[in-house]
Each structure stands twice: as C-alpha cells, then as structure tokens.
C-alpha cells in the first residue's frame, strides 16, 4: 500500500482534525488519495474497443451501462405505485446540475402522459379577462433561463428521528435537484389578463390524476416565477411536468406545480389539503407553522458520505452542496472534529442565487475516528443550524423544512456512517 506523500503530512492544518487550506488544490495540484495508486500499464491488445468499430449513432444518448447503478431511489406507496417519491443520488453526482433523468420526483398519483396538443393553461378568477393559452402559443413568448434548485419541503425529514438513519446521502437528502429552467415569466401573462389589485393569491392546479392545487402569493408570482417549459435545454420530462410546470425560485418543491393547467387569481388561499393537512409543521405547542414557503439555508457533504470507505489515511477532497432559498450562498465552513473547529471551504463558481453551490476543501485523514460536518451561510446572514438548536426551536414533529447540519462519522477502518 503506498504511503501518503511526505509533503501532505507536513501541510499545516487550518482547523482541527486535518482540514487544510481550501486553496491548496488549486495552488499545488495535489493528487487525491483515490487517484494515487500506481498500477502496471495494460497492454493495448487486451482492450477490444481499440480493435473493432464502435457502436453506431443514437438519436438520444444514454448513460454508460456501467453507470446503471447511478439511478433514482424510489419510495412509493405499496397500494398506489404512482404515489411517492424518487430521490436524486446526490453522492453519485458532481458539479451542481442534476441530469434530467435523475431529477427527484414527488408524485401524488402517477405521471400523466399528456398530449401537448390537448393541454391548455387557463388564467382566470379576479382578472380583467380570463385567458387560455395553448402550448404552441406559450412557446412564442419571451423567455428567461435561470439555474435553480428545487427542494421538496419534506426533504431530509429522517433528521427528525431520534436515531441517525443509515442510508446514502441521496436516499435521505435527495429530494433536491438543480437544473437550468427556461420559461415564460408569469408577470407577462398576469399583465395580459389584467389582475385585480384586491386579489393577492393565485391558486395553481396541475393536470395530474387528482388535479393537485396550491395557493401562492401573487407578489411572488409577479416577482420571479416562470411557466417552465425547458429543463436543462430540452423540453420538460413527463415526470417533471411536461408540457409545463410552475417554477417558484427558492420556495418549497410542492409549489412548483407540475402539468400546470389552471391559475385562479383570488382574494384568499384555497386551503387545499396540501397546504393544511400536509406541508405544515406541527410545533411542540400544538400549533402549526403554515405557508413556510422559503427553503432555508442548508448544506450537505456528498463526498465522503454514508456508505463510502476511505481506503487509507491520506489527503482527500471533501466536496458537497450548499443552497438557500433566500439567495446566494456566501460561505460554507467544514469541520473535521465534530464541530469544535471550522475551516472555510472553497465555493466553486458559479455561485448563483437559489441555485446549488459546490464547495470543496482538502482534508488530511490520519486514520483515527473523525466527524465531518458542513454549515452554510447565505447572503442574508442565515446560518444553517446545529440539529440540537433546530429541534429546540421546532420540536421533532414538524416533518417538513429540516435544514440542520448533517454529520458523517469516519470510523478507524475508513467506513463513513451517519451520526448526530
């Protein structure tokens, strides 16, 4: 087994437990442990793809069959297969963009197979003139593109449990994805219909089985919401709302109504099932928080994370994601000693508002048990809380909007587990 390079062992720590200066990777081009092993050169005649023509062209590319395990993890209702979630495998991905086939899903009653020629968006209620738009018409409107995360309000809810759940990062925190969304600013359509000044709510409704409906303040709709038509450059996938969905930057996923078919402008919220009985947070007092729209400041180390193993003491790159529905990420700190000391991680460009931000920091693991944590701060000064602080404030029955610091324990054999 190769020994760690001597210069790695002498680099000064910037925080306890072996965290190194975040600029080191850039400055010195350090090799990571995972790439360090030296192997014998392979003879080229053992590689068949060098000596026979490759596969022909394909109309739509697919991942390598060797990557078939990089897949969404599905958790569905045993009686209704289309009722449930699928999680983005965050620990298998890099950068900040989620491939469209791996974007998380939450469906209440399956994915409708919509013929775009028969789908219409109707804008009605307290407007000067109720209007109906077909898909072709909307495609002719001015559009805007924006890279945005979408996070389910129920993401990470296993964090409320008394014991740390032992599952991969994506299987717990992967109701979170990030894409470039392109569509028509809703303000344009609202202006075209002419909105009553005394009607501060819009009820959005999908064309799925059950016509899911949610109330959203008109001010947010006007400010930055989109009728999303494209996801990462291509038309939406059916499971992400084809032919159109609402994009509500920084707010909880359930508001990004998929298969959008109706917008009713009203003077009051409809008090739908999903904004009363669900997506409200029961507090220790017995009262419940309602209309908690913004997804709070949060971060997650994706590498190393649960289920992975560090092969030997060496220098590793700790890498993860940070995001906030309030705006840009300003800072991510990482701790390797369970939160006793913290070092600033490097934020990788682009750092965009309401978008995932990738952070990285080098870490020298000495082979002893360690606890890695990350905590994010956004441009409004919101700091991701410790779990104990979140629970002290909200109790453990809130179910939604869990944004506490996530901790990974490294055992002396290199195995990574979830801890509190």
């Amino acid at each position: 087994m190769p020994r760690p390079r001597s210069d790695l062992q002498t680099l000064p720590e910037v925080a306890g437990g072996g965290l190194l200066d975040r600029r080191l990777f850039l400055r010195r081009g350090l090799a990571l442990a995972t790439a360090a092993a030296v192997v014998e050169a392979q003879a080229s005649d053992e590689l068949p793809w060098l000596h026979a023509p490759g596969a022909p062209f394909t109309p739509y590319g697919q991942p390598s069959p060797h990557e078939r395990l990089t897949a969404r993890r599905i958790g569905a209702n045993r009686a209704v297969a289309g009722n449930g979630v699928s999680f983005t495998p965050l620990e298998e991905l890099e950068g900040i963009i989620t491939p469209n086939g791996l974007h998380f899903e939450r469906h209440h009653n399956g994915v409708p197979q919509i013929d775009p020629a028969r789908h219409r968006l109707t804008l009605f209620g307290r407007v000067r003139q109720a209007l109906s738009f077909d898909v072709k018409s909307l495609l002719r409107y001015p559009m805007r593109s924006q890279m945005l995360f979408i996070e389910c309000g129920g993401n990470s809810n296993a964090g409320w449990h008394g014991e740390p759940i032992q599952r991969s990062a994506g299987s717990v925190h992967g109701l979170l994805s990030c894409a470039e969304w392109t569509g028509v600013p809703l303000s344009i359509l609202l202006d075209e219909a002419g909105v009553d000044a005394g009607a501060p709510w819009v009820i959005a409704e999908g064309a799925d089985a059950g016509a899911m409906n949610m109330s959203i303040p008109l001010a947010k709709m006007r400010k930055d919401c989109l009728i999303g038509l494209y996801q990462n450059g291509e038309r939406l996938r059916p499971e992400n709302g084809y032919p159109m969905r609402l994009i509500v930057p920084g707010w909880e996923g359930v508001l990004h109504v998929k298969w959008l078919q109706r917008l009713e402008v009203t003077d009051q919220p409809v008090m739908s099932r999903n904004e009363t009985s669900k997506y409200t947070e029961l507090q220790p007092s017995g009262q419940a928080r309602q209309f908690t729209f913004t997804m709070d400041c949060k971060s997650l180390i994706t590498s190393p994370s649960h289920g992975q193993t560090l092969p030997r003491p060496d220098v590793y790159q700790v890498s993860g994601l940070a995001w906030s529905g309030h705006g840009r990420i300003r800072r991510v700190e990482v701790s390797a000693d369970g939160g006793k000391s913290w070092a600033d991680a490097a934020l990788e460009a682009p750092v965009l508002p309401r978008c995932l931000t990738r952070f990285r920091i080098p870490w020298r693991w000495d082979g002893k048990p360690a606890v890695l944590k990350s905590r994010a701060t956004d441009e409004r000064g919101n700091l991701q809380p410790e779990r104990a602080a979140l629970i002290a404030e909200r109790g453990r029955a809130g179910y939604f909007h869990y944004n506490a610091i996530i901790a990974w324990a490294i055992e002396d054999d290199g195995l990574v587990t979830h801890t509190y």
């Binding site: 209007l131 409107y141 075209e192 409809v270 008090m271």
Partner: protein, 181 residues
C-alpha cells in the same frame, strides 16, 4: 422569430371587463405577443374545482352521514381502514395523542383547519384509482361521514353548500402563517 402586438380574439372581450381597476402594465413590462384566448366565464365556472373556506366553489347537492358511510366502505376503506384509522394510506380519524404530545395524531378532526378542504380534495383526487368520478352528492356525503366519525358533526348532519362551510373545525385557529398575511 419575432413577436408582434397583434390583438387576438381576446382583445374584444377586454371591453366587457368586469371588476377591475388597477390593471395597468407594470413599469418595465416586457413586450409580449398577447396570444391568450378569451375564455367564456360560464364554461370556466363549470370546470373549476377550487373550493374556498367561505364556501365559494361548492356546487349544488347534499349528502348525509349514513350515505357517506356506505361510500367510504366502497371507495376508501381498503386503504384508509374500515374506521378510517389508517392502513396503507394515512389515518383520517380516531386521534388519541394530542397535537402537543410526541407522535401526535394528525387526523381530520384533530388537525384540519377547514371542512371545505374535504370537498375540495375528495372531489378532485378521490378515489385514487378513479379521481374526479364521484358526483357532488357523494362528495358531500363522504365529507359528512368523515366529519361525523371525527366527532365534529352529529349522525343526522346533512352537508351541502351552506352547511359545510359553516362547520367550525376544532383546530381552526392553531395555524401560524409564516410567510403570508
């Protein structure tokens, strides 16, 4: 491609506008093609599904607790349990642990703030295998039975567009609006 400001067939209908005053374009508004087609308000009212706490959106019709019991057994009990205490789908009734205790029961009777939500949700989403197939009388009846087994209305209650919004749910005032007025 280019956008024109061609008026559509919707433009004529602007003249017959109803309610509204402050409809001026916002400053800096984008030049847009105005391709929305005017929609007939009567046709819209027929298909719209939103039911509000004040009863707006409720259709004519009525349903009783006993009618609702039979409908629940037929359409709902397989997932929600015979007494609506939960199965493969969530519990709807029978709360024993109060909301201010650990593992509280969030049932219709213990948690839901508005009775109209029952009609809004059942009509659009239930039963899961055939959403939107129950008629108004059936939805009123199911609402009546669910309210009754939650101890909110009596066994002889009749639900309709007047009585349902008048039901005061026990947990009505226990919600704190965080980001809305």
């Amino acid at each position: 491609m280019g956008w024109s400001r061609t008026p559509t067939e919707g433009a004529a209908a602007l003249l017959s506008s109803l309610l509204l005053s402050a409809c001026a374009m916002a400053p800096g508004a984008v030049e847009a093609p105005r391709l929305g087609q005017a929609v007939d308000g009567v046709a819209l009212a027929r298909q719209q599904l939103n039911v509000f706490p004040d009863g707006r959106g409720l259709p004519p019709g009525r349903g009783t607790v006993s009618e609702g019991a039979a409908l629940f057994a037929r359409h709902c009990a397989a997932c929600h349990g015979k007494d609506a205490r939960g199965g493969s789908a969530e519990e709807l009734a029978g709360a024993t642990r109060p909301l201010n205790t650990p593992a509280a029961d969030k049932t219709i009777g213990s948690y839901w703030p508005y009775a109209t939500t029952l009609f809004d949700f059942i009509r659009r989403a239930k039963p899961m295998a055939a959403p939107g197939t129950l008629n108004a009388n059936e939805v009123y009846a199911l609402s009546a039975w669910l309210l009754h087994i939650n101890g909110v209305v009596s066994a002889d209650a009749v639900m309709d567009a007047c009585t349902l919004p008048a039901v005061r749910m026990p947990n009505r005032d226990r919600f704190i609006r965080i980001e809305a007025d």
